[in-house]
């Protein structure tokens, strides 16, 4: 049901590549580490999990990315990041921490194609390619058993349809929200998996970026707000069957709850994925920290770090799926609550407790 085989097979490749990469980088580090600046694990991890205007490949090799800046009143200005590194461009320059600043100190907005944006585009192209080709095979093999990629993804699509959408929204209305839920699910899952892959075009921390999770949560909020019926709004503004005195207390809580739900969605995904990246990178950093003391110790620690990294990679594969599932399931539950028909003898306190337990 959860499509274990493809995941297991595909997880082996990055792990094997990671092992190779680990020993190669250890050599590079042992040779080049002498006299140069000291290894800073915090900086490494910080650089990895935050966004960047260049895509670091290996060693000193990095792909510079386009910088697009909008200054109110002045308009757009675009260049490549490596041009900015060389010196001032178009009234913009880099400060000591490699942040872009305007030379005259004026306020501007950064619409650059950063590492995360590029990763986003790649994942989206991947999604479009995967699912249009799957859709094509459904048309081509009409009335036949699924095959290949189609049969790998069909159980997951059915899982989202039957166990997420149908179960949470209900038989009558779930079909309307299927495109949204499927897109959210596969978007999060594919980007989670791409984040686990250590090399270009993977390795960006897209689903662990607060802007991305915030956008996803806001889209869910918009969907909920637009599909909510009168009954749902009534429950927020004035819960039926509750005395007026308590309503003064309850209504603000309900209104807060309306915004809290997407907020929790945002934080959960962000924290889970970022934490996974931090842990995996911390184990890697251990090797370099000990390697700085002594190359032999570094190799010794590498064995343990590697074991932990492999374990973490396995766990992160599970988390990648789980977080996609949780985000989609909770979105579906919010939509389900917003579109629920009026029940006369509905036991409200219990329903709320149930929901709170899921959160």
């Amino acid at each position: 049901m959860y499509c274990i085989h493809p995941v297991r097979v595909s997880s082996l490749k990055p792990i094997l590549l990671s092992i190779l990469f680990l020993f190669l980088s250890l050599h590079i580090f042992a040779e080049g580490g002498e006299g140069n600046k000291k290894f800073n694990a915090g900086e490494l991890i910080g650089n990895h999990i935050t966004d960047s205007h260049e895509w670091h490949i290996a060693g000193h090799l990095a792909i510079p990315l386009p910088v697009i800046l909008y200054t109110p009143g002045k308009g757009l200005s675009a260049s490549m990041y490596n041009k900015l590194e060389e010196g001032e461009m178009d009234g913009f320059k880099l400060d000591a921490k490699h942040n872009i600043i305007a030379s005259d100190g004026s306020k501007f907005y950064d619409f650059s194609i950063t590492k995360n944006v590029l990763s986003l585009f790649i994942s989206i192209l991947l999604m479009l390619w995967i699912f249009t080709s799957v859709a094509k095979s459904y048309k081509r093999r009409e009335g036949q058993a699924p095959k290949g990629l189609q049969s790998a993804l069909e159980p997951i699509i059915l899982f989202v349809r039957d166990d997420v959408a149908k179960a949470s929204i209900g038989e009558k209305k779930f079909m309307k929200y299927m495109p949204f839920l499927l897109t959210v699910f596969f978007f999060i899952w594919i980007n989670n998996l791409m984040g686990l892959f250590p090399f270009f075009p993977g390795g960006a921390n897209l689903t662990g970026n607060i802007a991305v999770t915030m956008t996803l949560a806001l889209i869910t909020l918009v969907v909920v707000a637009f599909s909510a019926n009168k009954n749902y709004w009534m429950h927020i503004v004035a819960m039926p069957g509750v005395p007026k005195g308590i309503l003064f207390l309850l209504t603000p809580i309900e209104i807060l709850g309306f915004f809290l739900r997407p907020f929790v969605l945002m934080v959960r995904l962000f924290a889970n994925i970022t934490a996974g990246h931090i842990i995996a990178l911390s184990f890697f950093s251990l090797i370099f920290i000990f390697g700085e003391m002594n190359v032999g110790v570094g190799y010794g620690v590498a064995v343990f770090s590697l074991a932990f990294t492999v374990f973490m990679a396995m766990l992160e594969l599970l988390v990648a799926f789980l977080q996609a599932y949780v985000f989609t399931l909770l979105s579906a539950i919010y939509i389900g609550a917003a579109t629920e028909e009026h029940h006369h003898n509905h036991d409200h306190p219990e329903a709320h407790v149930e929901e709170a337990a899921i959160v």
């Binding site: 910080g46 799957v134 607060i210």
Partner: protein
């Protein structure tokens, strides 16, 4: 590290744009045909199962129907055989009765004719005996009366009888 929890406007912009575009394209060209194909396939499977169940039920009904027909036919045959046997028995019985009656009639008429013949024979015999007796008596008389004294004696006897009367 405070960068980590600061959502950047650029990424929000690109993310919103990309997500809406991908939602639209996938919704139109991927999810719609995929979901349609899936529900159609499910419907087909359900229909096929229903058809199979119906066919099975029909077969069972047909089988019981056949059995019923067979039983009916068997009953009909038994009835016909019984009727035929009855008819045969009736015919035989009737024929027997008729034959018996005919035989009785023939026997009766035979007995009658035998009786008649017998009576005729007896009568003839009687006549013959009477005739012969008369002839014998005539001969005896003639012989008796050929002698005079005897004729006389007879006369006397006859006269005696007349006088007595």
């Amino acid at each position: 590290m405070e960068k980590l929890i600061q959502p950047e406007i650029g990424l929000i912009f690109w993310m919103t744009l990309s997500f809406v575009v991908v939602l639209y394209i996938l919704g139109k060209f991927a999810w719609k045909p995929i979901l349609k194909a899936l529900s159609e396939r499910e419907q087909n499977i359900e229909e096929a199962l229903n058809t199979a169940r119906k066919a099975k039920e029909e077969m069972i009904a047909l089988k019981s129907d056949n059995e019923r027909l067979l039983n009916e036919a068997r009953g009909e045959r038994d009835k016909m055989l019984k009727e035929a046997r009855d008819t045969k028995d009736a015919i035989i019985a009737e024929a027997k009765g008729k034959a018996q009656a005919e035989a009785n009639k023939i026997m009766a008429s035979a007995r009658d004719s035998i009786n008649n013949e017998k009576m005729a024979a007896i009568t003839e015999l009687k006549n013959q005996v009477a005739k012969m007796s008369i002839e014998i008596a005539e001969k005896i008389l003639r012989h008796e009366l050929s002698q005079d004294e005897k004729q006389k004696a007879l006369m006397e006897n006859l006269i005696r009888d007349i006088s007595l009367n």
